[in-house]
Symmetry: C2
Subunit: 343 residues, 2 copies
DNA sequence: TAGATTTGTGTAATCGATTACATTAATTTA
DNA sequence: TAAATTAATGTAATCGATTACACAAATCTA
């Protein structure tokens, strides 16, 4: 019933002490071969399994790492978590998932409860880079718990980061639109308090400037990552005196909404208007009018974050390392921006 | 630096024992009010946080639950996990994620490591219902660890399940296709070793029979949930002497592939051919030719599974309960099957 | 005012492992 | 063959909490 076999049960059965059992099971060379074998055999027979909690308490290592993301039911975060898990599982780590729903309060609460649960590391996508989180971050660092930001980072000493080059991505998309002959390129940005959106926007600006385009700040509209926001934005843009003929959206969902709205107005894509998104959501390639988008390699990003964590664990105690890994984004050019005469 | 504050540190500072500190922090009424306040105050000042591992070891409750799914980077499982997390987090539970990639070996390994980690419960989507898993399942049950299957279940005594009525879903879709005037309805099924696919197929059959259609087993093609498989299946079906004029696919991805192939052959959807999918993946409603599909309410399913777990924990020790929760699927009728003359 | 209660804390065992430090028995050395 | 090694195992502390039991001081009872 209870079926809780401990080393003491094995010890009792064999008339030896728990210490000997422990040593035998850990292949301590001081133990006589015959004893070792007997113990191992008996342990197997009794279906003994070590209690990870006891080990964790004793060693101070829980073999759990916390992963904090805004949400997991999105392709991007789901894939990063998959990558993290794939790398860490073979090393004996378990992944504890926490969602913040972009809420500041939950973010801090999550870190706290993860620390109390004695996780061996925290991998997170921080939501708002402007709000001061130094206090809680310091708690993590003081405890010497490796902390790694992925995708949504904030520059903090001692914190490693794994990101893609959002600036480059923004630049590439914009340059591509320019190459397709677009003259007035608008940008549907995201929450500017996040570095990723800031950087994408900066890349956009730089590409414009480098190519002799003038930058009009009215062409930048802040949106939340929702289809409806794309429709709204297009309505607004089309009312302008000098409406754009292309959109670089920092979100695939917003790009989708934009496309829907443009189509409903009878505007032809990509002939009259080009639209590019961001994140390479599955639907962007499934659509009949497939959508040009940026691949952020979420799986790779997750794997990389996990690897950085493993390195930090290995080297802990030695020099404090701080890695900044930047992945190169890949632009998938699809129908929504590909004009045939240019192909 | 180390910043590890324990109740002993607090005790030392106040010249009392750890027992008193523990009691004060736990609002034990035997403790003098003044002492309690002093302790609580000092604990806050020293930034004391209880060590969850120690608590877990003592109490035998880790406050962790394991969730085992084939993968997390899918809309369906991502959403169920989100639901689980949302319900359990407020109750102080953490969710440990494990992926099986449909591999038998990993499934068993995951259960084992979760048990060794002393999880308080396991919620899982079992991959293959035909392979005998009694041994490992028994280990869970013997340990009195609540076990709940969601979506992909297997009928086992003592195991609660939360599923949707896949039979009904299959029936509804097929009936809908019949109502739209389709005469020869094919079914693209999934791995028949899973109950969900078996049931969807049974619902399909029953609907055919109930409506005076004859059932042709050549109209059933087994597929894996991939776009390419849908294309292949359609190629095969169209080569038949008496090709179908509708497809009920047990997967949205397969349905998508089918649609792509049909279109490439110049077949008009839904006028000449209707296609319905399953799972209500986001892309099904985003497509220009939106795809009829079945909503499995993954978020609700996750929440429900978590609630069943909570009930079992509460009632543990009392009668052993075994809940079978069946959610009703919802058919979203979209362009891919909606013939205007029928609307 | 002696005995019974109550109040507030301390002592020590416990959860299940690991491990530094004995300790005993066996073997080697001189 | 006595002393020195070595081999194999036992004893007990430890990780950080909780809690049954013990106990002294304060308060109540008759």
């Amino acid at each position: 019933m209870g079926e809780k076999v401990t080393i003491y049960d094995i010890a009792k059965k064999l008339n030896i002490t728990a210490a000997t059992v422990s040593r035998a099971l850990n292949n301590n060379p001081k133990i006589k071969a015959s004893t070792r074998e007997l113990v191992i055999e008996t342990a197997a027979k009794m279906n003994y399994k070590p209690n990870k909690l006891a080990l964790a308490l004793k060693s101070g290592k829980s073999n759990n790492v916390g992963v904090i993301v805004p949400r997991i039911d999105s392709n991007f975060f789901g894939s990063t978590i998959r990558g993290i898990e794939e790398v860490l599982y073979p090393h004996g780590y378990h992944v504890i998932i926490c969602q913040t729903h972009e809420e500041e309060k939950l973010e801090i609460e999550n870190i706290n409860t993860l620390l109390n649960a004695q996780v061996d590391g925290i991998l997170m996508s921080i939501s708002n880079a402007e709000i001061d989180k130094d206090h809680i971050i310091n708690r993590v660092l003081k405890k010497n718990v490796p902390l790694i930001f992925f995708d949504r980072k904030k520059n903090i000493d001692g914190v490693s980061t794994v990101t893609i080059n959002d600036f480059e991505a923004g630049y590439k998309v914009t340059k591509h639109l320019i190459d397709q002959g677009c003259k007035r390129i608008a940008h549907l940005s995201g929450d500017k308090s996040m570095e990723i959106y800031k950087d994408r926007c900066l890349g956009y600006k730089q590409a414009l400037l480098d190519n002799g385009f003038e930058f009009d700040k009215n062409y930048i509209i802040q949106t939340k990552s929702k289809v409806e926001e794309g429709r709204k934005a297009v309505k607004k843009l089309l009312k302008m005196k000098n409406p754009p003929d292309a959109i670089f959206s920092a979100s695939d969902f917003v790009a989708l909404g934009a496309i829907q709205e443009l189509k409903s107005k009878g505007i032809k894509i990509p002939e009259e208007f080009c639209v590019a998104g961001f994140s390479n959501e599955p639907f962007t390639r499934f659509m009949e009018l497939s959508i040009t988008s940026v691949d952020q390699f979420p799986l790779e990003m997750g794997k990389m974050a996990a690897k950085v964590f493993l390195e930090q664990v290995k080297d802990s105690g030695k020099v404090k390392i701080e890695k900044k890994v930047v992945l190169t984004p890949k632009l998938h050019i699809r129908k929504s921006t590909l004009r045939k005469n240019n192909a």
